[in-house]
Subunit: 183 residues, 2 copies
C-alpha cells in the first residue's frame, strides 16, 4: 500500500533515519510524528502515507515465508514444538541481516519502550500464523501448532529485547534462546 517508486523509497529512507535519530536522542514517546516528518523534510501526512502507524517505523519483519519453509523442511515425525525449534534455528543463517547496524538501532529503541514491545508482538503474529499453517498442513492440530510457534517466537523476541551484551550478534542471541528450549 505505501508508495514504491524510487523517489518514494528515498523519502521512506529519510523518514526512517530521522525517526531513529530523534527516538534515540529524545525518546520515542517524547517525539511526535510531526517532528519526525519535519526532520525528514516532509509533512505529517506523508509520514502516514509511508507508515500506517508511528510504531511501524521501527517495527517490521518480512521473514515469515523463509521461516515457515524451514519449519516445513524438518522431519515430520518430530513433535511439533521440536520441529518449530529446529526450523527456526535452520532459518537463522538466511535471515541474518547483513546491514546489522540499522537493525541494532531498532532493537535498542524497541527494547526501551513497552508500547513498542507490544507492537513487535503484534507484528510477529503474522509469522506465528505462517508457521502454524505449515504445521497444520501436515496434520498437526491447530492448537498445538499455534502453541509451538508462539513459544519459539516468544522466546526469540524476549531474548532480543533482554540482551545486554552488545558484542554478541543478533543471530547469536536468537540461537542461544532456542537452545534454552531444548529439553
Amino acid at each position: 500500500m505505501p508508495p514504491t517508486s524510487p523517489r518514494a523509497q528515498r523519502t521512506r529512507g529519510r523518514i526512517v533515519d530521522a525517526a531513529l535519530d530523534l527516538f534515540e536522542r529524545q525518546g520515542y514517546d517524547a517525539t511526535t510524528t510531526t517532528q519526525v516528518a519535519a526532520a525528514a523534510g516532509v509533512t505529517q501526512m506523508t509520514f502516514f502515507r509511508h507508515f500506517p502507524t508511528k510504531d511501524a517505523v521501527v517495527v517490521s519483519d518480512p521473514y515469515d515465508p523463509l521461516i515457515a519453509d524451514a519449519v516445513g523442511a524438518q522431519p515430520r515425525d518430530l513433535p511439533p514444538f521440536e520441529r518449530v525449534r529446529r526450523g527456526m534455528l535452520a532459518a537463522l543463517g538466511d535471515v541474518a541481516p547483513a546491514d546489522d547496524t540499522t537493525a541494532l538501532r531498532r532493537v535498542a529503541v524497541v527494547a526501551a519502550n513497552p508500547r513498542l514491545r507490544a507492537a513487535v508482538v503484534l507484528a510477529t503474529a503474522t509469522t506465528e500464523r505462517a508457521i502454524a499453517d505449515r504445521l497444520v498442513a501436515d496434520g498437526v492440530p491447530r492448537l498445538d501448532a499455534t502453541v509451538a510457534a508462539a513459544a519459539c517466537l516468544g522466546a526469540c523476541t524476549a531474548a532480543l529485547l533482554a540482551r545486554t551484551d552488545a558484542r554478541v550478534p543478533l543471530a547469536g542471541t536468537v540461537a542461544r534462546a532456542l537452545e534454552v528450549l531444548d529439553a
Copy 2:
C-alpha cells in the same frame, strides 16, 4: 492509583459491564470511551480515572506472585524451561477462576482484536519478569530465565486466544498448551 472506596468499586463495575456489553455488540474499535462512560452513567474523565487506557477494561492479570512461587517450588536441578513449564501447570489450580463468565467474555473480546492481543502481551510482561527473577535468584542466567518464561507464557496466551471449543474450560486449554511443550 485508581479509586478504591466502595462507591468507586461500584462505578468501576458498571464501567466494566457497560464496556463488555458495547464491545460485544458493536466491536471494540467502533466503541468510543465516551460511549462506554455514558452507558455507565459517568463522564469520559471518570472512565480514565479508573482505567489508564481503553485497553485496561478488558486486560488485567494479577496472577504474577502465585505463578512465580509455583515455579520456584519446582526441583532446582531441572533445566529452567522445564521448571517454568511444570511450575505453571502446578499453579493452574490456584489461579483457576471458579465462576468466571466475565473472564470468558474478556477472552472473546480480546481474541477478536489485534491491538487488544498486543495489550495482553504487554500485561504479561510483568508476569514474565516475576518468573524470570525467581529463576535468576537460583543462579539461572538472566537470558535463559527470560526466554524460558517468555516461551511458556507465549504458549498459554496463544492457546487462550486461539481456542475455538467453548466447552473446554480456560484452565484445560492452558494445560493442553503446556503439554505441547513437553519434549
